[in-house]
């Protein structure tokens, strides 16, 4: 199985870039095959999927495009940072070019090992994780990963975490290069003891971080908020004042689980971040409160798996949505959400998805 295979029976062909060392021959649910040629560096052509898409929207005329902080997205569906790697990990399952944007794994100034395992455990309708921001560092990203991503025709938003406001600024400066569509400022990761958490739970510090990022980039800046706070609207307003072009929420809720047999915390790191359907009601409430408090666009996330889930967030006031844990449940969740949203609009006579934003508030 060391050679790329061509499935001529399928009668359809697409060239997909070789993703790093590992090439993929992808094969989708619908039985269509995509051929991979190792080492190829062409712009990705995904005619087949494009055709499908065109077919679907031809008579449809639903505008799915949304604008976040001056950034035009094909549709309002993003991936949530840390759940989708750098995008290419999911390319066997779907055409990345169909996504509104890919938000990549959180980067830090220096490479990080991350926390010792066990790092994840399932809880009722939820997932606890304590990855601890394992990542290769911003320089590696710029040198090795970003150039590969250039082959895709979608927006890549880079999620950043720092130990000090200045570090955030430095990261922002380094990442202000072509190929990066926007920055998402993670002031909310609950797994980094050194600072991360504190920024997100204090409006003033959150604002300081955002101000530092804004001073170092002309890219759109999205502030990603922590749900582990008494008053989410206060934090949202503070980062808005500090110049954030958009806010995204929620990051994970701080939680834990105990291994009964071992009588020890199930995660090596003791606590972790809770995500998935379990947190959806909390996320939705915070999106509602935040949309009321700020004028900048809100990107909603937390437990979205289906188009119905996404609609709840849009109705609550989210201009776009991101899917995190949902990718683990169904690796094609993003695509089915995009298609489901489009179908909903068609069936309900909605010409522009933007019309639905905040519909439940009216």
């Amino acid at each position: 199985m060391d050679d790329a295979r061509s499935d001529s029976e399928a009668g359809l062909r697409t060239d997909v870039k070789n993703c790093g060392k590992t090439g993929f021959i992808t094969c989708r649910e619908d039985g269509l095959k995509v051929e991979v040629k190792a080492g190829m560096k062409n712009k990705i052509r995904t005619d087949m999927e494009e055709d499908m898409k065109t077919d679907m929207t031809a008579n449809a005329k639903v505008n799915m495009e949304v604008e976040i902080a001056g950034l035009k997205l094909k549709n309002p569906v993003l991936t949530a940072s840390g759940t989708f790697g750098f995008g290419k990990e999911y390319s066997p399952f779907l055409d990345l070019n169909r996504l509104g944007a890919v938000v990549v794994k959180g980067l830090t100034l220096n490479p990080r090992e991350g926390n010792p395992p066990p790092r994840i455990i399932e809880t009722p309708a939820g997932l606890l994780n304590s990855i601890g921001l394992q990542n290769p560092g911003v320089d590696y990203f710029l040198e090795y990963i970003l150039p590969e991503l250039a082959a895709y025709d979608t927006n890549f938003i880079v999620n950043i975490s720092g130990n000090t406001p200045e570090e955030y600024g430095l990261l922002a400066a380094k990442l202000s290069v072509p190929g990066v569509a926007a920055l998402e400022v993670n002031i909310s990761c609950p797994n980094v003891k050194a600072g991360g958490m504190a920024f997100g739970t204090d409006p003033e510090m959150a604002a300081e971080v955002v101000a530092n990022v804004k001073a170092n980039t002309r890219l759109p800046v999205i502030a990603k908020l922590s749900p582990n706070v008494t008053d989410i609207a206060a934090v949202a307003s503070a980062v808005e004042k500090a110049g954030a072009d958009a806010v995204s929420l929620i990051n994970t809720l701080l939680g834990m689980a105990i291994d009964i047999k071992k009588r020890k915390p199930a995660l090596a790191n003791i606590m972790g971040g809770l995500s998935g359907p379990a947190v959806k009601p909390v996320a939705l409430r915070m999106v509602w409160q935040t949309a009321e408090a700020v004028r900048v666009p809100v990107i909603g996330m937390g437990g979205i798996v289906t188009a119905e889930d996404a609609l709840e967030f849009i109705f609550a006031g989210a201009r776009a949505v991101a899917i995190g844990t949902g990718n683990f449940i169904d690796p094609r969740a993003t695509i089915s959400v995009i298609e489901g949203l489009e179908k909903y609009c068609l069936e309900n006579g909605i010409e522009d998805i933007n019309q639905l934003v905040g519909a439940a508030r009216k």
Binding site: T22, P117, R119, E122, I131, Q134, T325, I329, D330, P331
Partner: protein
């Protein structure tokens, strides 16, 4: 290495209890069967809804390329496998795979190897297609299967068809040799030259196998387990500690593994 990973819908062809709390599941999944290699795994969505939430990983236990089917062997452990065990022939389930790296087949083409396969409990699952492929390639195989007791013994007939030699152990002696699955190893390796060891099972067992292999200076591959979320290398949730893979302290069991050179693994405790 090139691999195929697909999301597909697998139809249940057969689903039977083969030992106490252990079931054998045969699925129609031609896309997976076509490219699967021994040591790879699939992830199965055990139920609609979010209970359980995650797709659950299972080793590929049988590969029938001609008929486009794969077999799984699993233990009913928690909620996911409980839900899975309710599925019936004719129903279909979402699966993704084949995932992971799989075992490395030994030697150069034409060169005959003497391989030792050691499986403890459900760790026997990935060894069956490996034994089949080794036999097909003309290698010699000895398989040791270790069970807790006779009530958990299963699939010995299938292994007997593929292995040159089959040894069964149970902890309580209720079937086969009494003792641990590692007990017969030293004697065997004294009597003859083993070129490569493949092992799968609980971690303490794998650590013991790895120690024996190291002492005897035999190449050894172990298949590890870890709690998995994405299964495609994106979430970094499934890592194990290794000595140097990719220059990083942690390797992803789902992509750099589940099969590792036993010398790479840092064992707990």
């Amino acid at each position: 290495m090139i691999y195929l990973v697909v999301k597909t819908s697998g139809m249940v062809l057969e689903h039977v209890e083969v030992a106490n709390g252990i079931k054998y599941l045969k699925l129609e999944a031609p896309d997976i069967a076509r490219s699967a290699r021994p040591g790879q795994f699939v992830q199965v969505r055990c139920a609609a809804g979010c209970s359980p939430l995650l797709r659950k990983p299972f080793s590929i236990h049988e590969i029938d390329r001609a008929n486009g089917t794969i077999g799984l062997l699993y233990e009913i452990k928690g909620h996911g496998t409980q839900m899975l065990s309710g599925s019936r022939a004719g129903e279909s389930m979402e699966i993704t795979g084949p995932s992971g790296n799989g075992f490395t087949l030994p030697g150069d083409p034409g060169e005959e190897c003497n391989a030792l396969l050691v499986g403890g409990g459900l760790g026997i699952a990935p060894l069956l297609p490996l034994a089949a492929e080794l036999r097909e390639k003309g290698h010699k195989t000895t398989v040791i299967l270790g069970f807790n007791d006779a009530s958990r013994l299963c699939r010995t007939e299938a292994f007997a068809r593929e292995a040159d030699r089959l040894i069964v152990t149970t902890v309580d002696g209720s079937s086969g040799e009494k003792g641990l699955v590692t007990d017969p190893m030293s004697g065997l390796m004294k009597r003859e030259k083993i070129n490569v060891i493949y092992a799968c099972g609980p971690e303490p067992m794998l650590a013991a196998v790895a120690r024996i292999a190291e002492v005897q200076r035999v190449k050894c591959e172990v298949s590890l387990e870890a709690y998995m979320a994405c299964g495609v290398g994106a979430c970094l949730g499934c890592v194990c500690r290794t000595k140097s893979i990719g220059g990083k302290p942690y390797a992803r069991v789902c992509t750099e593994g589940p099969v590792f050179d036993s010398r790479e693994v840092i064992w707990n405790g």
